[in-house]
C-alpha cells in the first residue's frame, strides 16, 4: 500500500519547525500504545510459555527449580516435554485433529464452491448483496451459540430423534451426539462461511470473457471449469483452505461440546494440561507445537502467493 507522501503542509510556512518534526516522531507516537499492549500482553506471554515448555513440572503445579543448569541442558532434559508430546499415547489425538481438519476443509470446499459461484456469477444482480449478507451474518454471530444449536438438534431428546421417533422410522433414539460425526458436523457448520467468502471474492473477479474464449475454442463445460475457472480462482481456493484448516486444527469448543471422550482434539489436550492435569510445561510444549504448525502453514501460503505473483488474500 502506498505510503509515498510522508510530509504534509510544508507549504504553510507558519509552523515549519513543528511540521518538520511531526513526520519523524508521529508514527512512533501513534504506534507505541499498540506495541505496549500487544508486546506486554500478547508477545511476552507467548515467549513466556515457550520458555516454560523447556521446564519441568513442580510438585504444586508450578515449575520445578533447576539445580544445575549445565547438567540440565547437557542431559537434554529440557526437551523432556517435547519428547513426551511425541509419545504414541498422544498419536491418536494428533491424527484425529489432522484428519478432521483435512476432511472439514475438503467438505467446506466442495460445499462452498457451487454456492460462491452461484452468488458471484449466476444470481440476479439485485439479489447478490442480500445473498452475500446472509453468508456473512453467521460468520459474525456467536460461534459458541451456533455450536450449541447442534446439541439441540443431535441429542438423544433432540429434534432429529424426536421427529424420527414420532414418524415411526426408528424405535430407539440414535446416538448422534458426543462422537466424531457430531464434531465433524459442528466444524463444517462453523467454518463454512470462512470458505465461501474468499471463494466468492475470487469468483467475483473472474473475467467471464475468458470462459467464453475457452468455450469458443471448443472446450466443453467441465473442461472449461477445470482448466480455466479453477486455476483462475486458485487464490480464493487456497485462502479458503488456509482460513478453514487453521481454526479447525486448533479447535476446542466444538470438540468439547459436541464430541465425547473419544473425539478429543489437540485443543482439548492443551486445555486439559492447564485446567485439569496442571502440567503447564507439557501443555506449553504442545501449544507451541500447534503454533508452529499454524505458522508453517501460513509461511507456506505466503510463499505460494509470492511465487504466483499474487497478493495474498489474507
Amino acid at each position: 500500500m502506498g505510503v509515498k507522501r510522508t510530509t504534509t503542509g510544508t507549504r504553510t510556512g507558519t509552523s515549519v519547525k513543528e511540521e518538520a518534526a511531526t513526520p519523524k516522531k508521529a508514527p512512533y507516537l501513534l504506534i507505541t500504545p499498540a506495541w505496549l499492549v500487544i508486546g506486554l500482553f500478547f508477545l511476552l506471554p507467548l515467549i513466556f510459555i515457550f520458555v516454560i515448555s523447556f521446564g519441568a513440572r513442580g510438585t504444586y503445579g508450578g515449575l520445578k527449580p533447576i539445580a544445575d543448569w549445565g547438567a540440565y541442558l547437557l542431559s537434554g532434559e529440557f526437551l523432556a516435554n517435547y519428547r513426551q508430546s511425541l509419545e504414541p499415547l498422544y498419536w491418536p489425538i494428533y491424527w484425529r485433529s489432522f484428519w478432521m481438519a483435512v476432511v472439514t476443509t475438503g467438505l467446506c470446499l466442495v460445499i462452498s464452491y457451487p454456492i460462491a459461484y452461484y452468488i458471484a456469477i449466476i444470481a440476479p444482480a439485485r439479489w447478490k448483496n442480500l445473498l452475500l449478507a446472509l453468508v456473512v451474518i453467521p460468520f459474525w454471530t456467536s460461534f459458541l451459540i451456533r455450536t450449541y444449536a447442534w446439541v439441540l438438534i443431535l441429542r438423544t431428546e433432540g429434534l432429529i430423534n424426536t421427529v424420527l421417533m414420532q414418524a415411526g422410522l426408528i424405535n430407539a433414539p440414535l446416538d448422534l451426539l458426543y462422537n466424531e460425526f457430531a464434531v465433524m458436523v459442528g466444524l463444517v457448520y462453523g467454518e463454512l462461511p470462512f470458505m465461501i467468502l474468499p471463494l466468492y471474492a475470487s469468483l467475483e473477479k473472474l473475467d467471464l470473457t475468458l470462459l467464453e474464449a475457452s468455450s469458443d475454442l471448443g472446450a466443453n463445460h467441465p473442461s472449461t471449469f477445470w482448466r480455466v475457472t479453477v486455476p483462475l480462482t486458485m487464490p480464493g481456493i487456497v485462502a479458503g483452505i488456509v482460513l478453514v484448516f487453521i481454526p479447525s486444527i486448533g479447535q476446542f469448543v466444538v470438540s468439547d461440546l459436541l464430541g465425547g471422550a473419544k473425539s478429543m482434539l489437540v485443543g482439548n489436550l492443551i486445555q486439559n494440561q492447564f485446567a485439569i492435569a496442571r502440567n503447564k510445561p507439557f501443555g506449553s510444549a504442545i501449544a507451541f507445537e500447534l503454533t508452529a504448525v499454524v505458522l508453517l502453514l501460513l509461511l507456506a501460503y505466503a510463499w505460494w502467493s509470492k511465487k504466483k505473483g499474487q497478493e495474498a488474500m489474507l
Binding site: T8, I31, I38, I111, L134, L208, I249, G250, F252, M313
Partner: protein
C-alpha cells in the same frame, strides 16, 4: 479478514452473462441454485431451531407444547445470568473503547508513514488474528500467574484489548487506503493546526471505518469464550462462560432464551456495521 470479504457494490450489476457458450446450462444453474438453497438452509436452520425452542413450553423434550415467554421471564430472575450480562457489557464496552483508540492510532501510523520497524509492527498486529485462541488463552493465564497478577475482570479486559487492536487497525487502515490527503493539506493551508485538522477533517472522514471496527470488536469481545474462560477471575464470569457452564450441565430452555438474546444483539451490531461499510464505499476492498 472481514474487510476483504465484504460486498463490492461497484461490481454488482456490472456483469452481463457472456456469450451463450460460456454460461452454464440451465440445468447447471438450477442445480447450483438448489445447492445454494440447501446451504442457506444448513446455515440458518440450527439458528432458527434455537430461537423457536426458546419459546417452547416444553422443558425437556423437543416436542412443541405451546408458545411461552416464561423462559425469558426466568432469565430476569436468574442473578447469575444477569451478573454475567453485566460483566460482559463492561468487558465489551471497555475493550471496544480502548482497542478502537489504540487500533485507530496504529492504523494511522501504518497507513501514512514509512518508518523503521513497520514490517515488524505489521507482523505483530497480524499474530493475534492467526494464533489459535487456545494458545493465547493458556499463554496469558500462565503469564498472569507468573507475574502474580490476580485474575479479575481487568485481566479479561486486558486480554480482549490485546487481541482486538489488530481488527480495528485492519479495518481502519483499509478505510485510510482510499483517503484523499489533499483535504488535510487544504485544512493545513487554511491555517488549521495538526490536532484541529485531525478532529475536523481526518476523523470525520475515517469515522465509518472506526465505527465499523468498534462494532466488530464489540461483537468479538461479547462472544469470546475461549480466552475469557482462562483469564476470568472469580466473580468476573462473562455471558459466554455462563452459557458454556449451563450447556455443560444440560440443555435448558433458559440457555435457549439467553442465546437468542445474544444472537439478537450481535446480529443488530453486524447489520449496523455492514451498512456503515457499504456507506463508506469500497474502502474495505483494498487490502
Amino acid at each position: 479478514m472481514p474487510d476483504s470479504l465484504e460486498t463490492s457494490p461497484q461490481f454488482v450489476g456490472a456483469r452481463e452473462p457472456a456469450a451463450r457458450g460460456a454460461t452454464p446450462f440451465r440445468w447447471e444453474r438450477k442445480l447450483m441454485g438448489l445447492h445454494s438453497a440447501l446451504v442457506y438452509f444448513f446455515l440458518y436452520a440450527p439458528i432458527v431451531i434455537l430461537i423457536v425452542f426458546s419459546f417452547n413450553e416444553a422443558r425437556q423434550t423437543a416436542r412443541w407444547e405451546g408458545f411461552t415467554f416464561q423462559w425469558y421471564g426466568k432469565l430476569m430472575e436468574n442473578k447469575l445470568i444477569l451478573r454475567s450480562v453485566q460483566n460482559s457489557l463492561i468487558v465489551a464496552g471497555a475493550t471496544t473503547l480502548a482497542s478502537t483508540i489504540i487500533g485507530t492510532l496504529a492504523a494511522l501510523a501504518l497507513g501514512r508513514y514509512a518508518f523503521r520497524g513497520k514490517g515488524a509492527t505489521q507482523a505483530a498486529l497480524f499474530l493475534p488474528i492467526i494464533i489459535p485462541e487456545i494458545v493465547f488463552g493458556v499463554a496469558l493465564v500462565t503469564f498472569f500467574g507468573a507475574v502474580q497478577f490476580q485474575l479479575s475482570i481487568w485481566t479479561v479486559i486486558i486480554s480482549h484489548v490485546a487481541f482486538s487492536i489488530s481488527y480495528v487497525a485492519i479495518v481502519v487502515r483499509a478505510r485510510l487506503a482510499g483517503f484523499d490527503r489533499s483535504l488535510e493539506e487544504a485544512a493545513m493551508d487554511l491555517g488549521a493546526g495538526p490536532i484541529q485538522t485531525f478532529f475536523r477533517v481526518t476523523l470525520p472522514l475515517i469515522l465509518p471505518g472506526v465505527i465499523a471496527g468498534a462494532l466488530l470488536v464489540f461483537t468479538i469481545s461479547i462472544d469470546d469464550y475461549v480466552v475469557s474462560s482462562f483469564v476470568a477471575g472469580a466473580g468476573a464470569t462473562t455471558l459466554p462462560i455462563q452459557i458454556y457452564s449451563m450447556i455443560k450441565v444440560g440443555v435448558t430452555p433458559e440457555v435457549n432464551a439467553v442465546s437468542t438474546l445474544l444472537l439478537l444483539v450481535t446480529v443488530v451490531m453486524i447489520l449496523f456495521a455492514q451498512r456503515l461499510q457499504q456507506q463508506s464505499g469500497d474502502g474495505g476492498n483494498k487490502r
